[in-house]
Assembly symmetry: C2
Homo-oligomer: 340 residues x 2
């Protein structure tokens, strides 16, 4: 890759609960934070321009590409990707495929983005399935959960590749030395696990390119005892949603406690407010930006459906690091079977 190359990010401006207002704002914020960054906003031109008109931005680095159609969150992923060629998501995916853009960021229909990533951007030859890699807050450093929801009913060989891709990512992008890889299980003993886990354990043990730490339980994930937790996408997605649910529940309970309490607690709550806010930030999965799909030829990043401008900005800026680390090339070199 050239030094100081301008990086272009395709943004699915119509995807997400607060699109296009927040996606457009987030994209502009990202170009302000990094003067070497260029964004292409894919969406219904009138609507995107109307949002842009509310902001001040560098017209040399913020472009609008008209895409008259929108994939809604409730749509069937495969059908939507195949039928809606003029949607913001599909057009942005084609921009990444063709090299017009270095990456796509979308808060839209997760399933459609996953399908579109595999069908349009395409997998690295030799990679069976692309996986969604999510950084989850823990008591120590964030832990990568892979697969966080792209593939269900994974074969052991797929989980092995997830482990290898996760290891490369944590080493090269997140800069962890010899990252520890754990396989999600419900106990540490040899006999524990379902058929999938039991068949995967020996593959991970034998794999010399990773630092395999054995079985880990989801409770240990939040302790941060490994760098990568490998699991089937059904389980990974369930872990992520449990995480979100418990964090939201605790937050709600704190609020209720402070609101319904006596004067003493109300005064106390006022005093701790700012420190508490900072503390709670670490449980916001959005803080960590988007989740990349590992195993694709180019970069596809999923952000949460209810992202606001700051999270979209973070996800776009994070793409810079992904592109700079050239993670797809590294995965291809280590695991791919592309002709050299």
């Amino acid at each position: 890759m050239e030094e100081n190359k301008q990086i272009t990010i395709a943004v699915d401006a119509m995807g997400g609960d607060f699109a296009p207002a927040e996606t457009v704002k987030g994209a502009v914020l990202a170009t302000e934070a990094d003067k070497g960054l260029c964004v292409k906003l894919y969406g219904i031109e009138d609507q995107v321009q109307a949002e842009l008109a509310k902001l001040s931005y560098d017209a040399d680095r913020v472009f609008v590409v008209h895409a008259p159609d929108v994939i809604e969150t409730c749509e069937s992923p495969v059908k939507a990707i195949k039928a809606k060629k003029e949607s913001s998501m599909v057009k942005a995916l084609y921009a990444v495929k063709s090299g017009e853009a270095d990456a796509i960021v979308s808060c839209g229909n997760t399933g459609a983005l996953l399908v579109g990533g595999q069908l349009i951007v395409g997998r690295i030859r030799g990679i069976e399935r692309a996986a969604l890699a999510f950084l989850v807050p823990s008591m120590k450093e964030p832990v990568m959960l892979i697969d966080a929801g792209a593939n269900v009913d994974c074969r052991p060989e797929m989980l092995l590749q997830f482990a290898q891709m996760g290891s490369i990512y944590m080493e090269d992008v997140v800069h962890r030395t010899s990252p520890k890889i754990g396989l999600l299980n419900i106990g540490e003993e040899e006999e524990k696990g379902n058929a999938q886990v039991k068949a995967t354990l020996p593959l991970l043990k034998e794999c010399e390119s990773i630092n395999f730490a054995g079985s880990v339980q989801s409770r240990e994930m939040t302790d941060g005892i490994v760098d990568v937790v490998v699991c089937d996408g059904f389980i990974g997605n369930t872990i992520l949603k449990t995480y979100e649910g418990v964090a939201a529940f605790m937050l709600q309970s704190l609020k209720t406690t402070f609101t319904n309490s006596g004067l003493k607690t109300k005064i106390g709550a006022g005093l701790i407010k700012s420190d508490l806010k900072n503390m709670l930030k670490q449980f916001s999965v959005e803080e960590y930006g988007g989740a990349p799909m590992l195993g694709l030829k180019n970069l596809v990043v999923k952000t949460h459906g209810n992202s606001y401008a700051p999270e979209i900005r973070n996800a776009i800026l994070q793409c810079r690091d992904f592109v700079a680390a050239d993670i797809a090339a590294k995965i291809s070199a280590a695991l791919g079977t592309e002709p050299k």
Copy 2:
């Protein structure tokens, strides 16, 4: 069942991280709370008596049964149950089988208790597998998670029975009218889910004896939108451990925030302390007592390995309600194929 029948609970006094001190104390506390309750403490007699000597208790309702052996938490469940006939857990399980006791409460090796429950106490005829039913705190009422870890790689017919048993339990023991049953999934759309979920959905839809509410995601579990969440034991156990991990992580972060903060926050923390403690209690899974195994001929209740006396007391008292509701008979009548 006779009215005012004295209920006898077999307690595995040697099981758990703080046994026998906390198990013995918890059992004595339960007999104090309910004068109609009798406990049999299974364990190494000297050690159990030494703990009893520290307490005042009603010798007419607290008995010690010598069991020289102990099943450790790290042991292989099947081997331990088969080899350690003189262990506190196995002897207590036989007491339940023979009718000497109405229920067993154990904080010991979960796998061993699950295996022992099926092998020694035995399943109701017609029930394919017994499942661990766990009440999880939510924003509304607690939600039952079934199976919380007894069976991995469940067939759809097993999940159907878990749904039916969970429904009977929530209706008859927890007194929810027409309890809503959800199947754990990673989305609500028809096409979502792994092979297991897709094969199970039609069975639950067709089942007339339950109020099936469709797919639910783990995030919705904490919202409390259903009464019962049905899933494979691998997933249920992972949900439970994620729940514990996130709650522990948030608690730890609160403590760190208050300890490392400035004077203002320290004063504030002092003021909110008691209300906060009460709030946090609801996230303690132990508050809800033990988890019954549904589908067995008699009552087997698992309590958390790190339970203290109050939780053990709660679990024992909870057994009273289980026995009174005669849940095994109700499950047998609805689902069993025992000769009438």
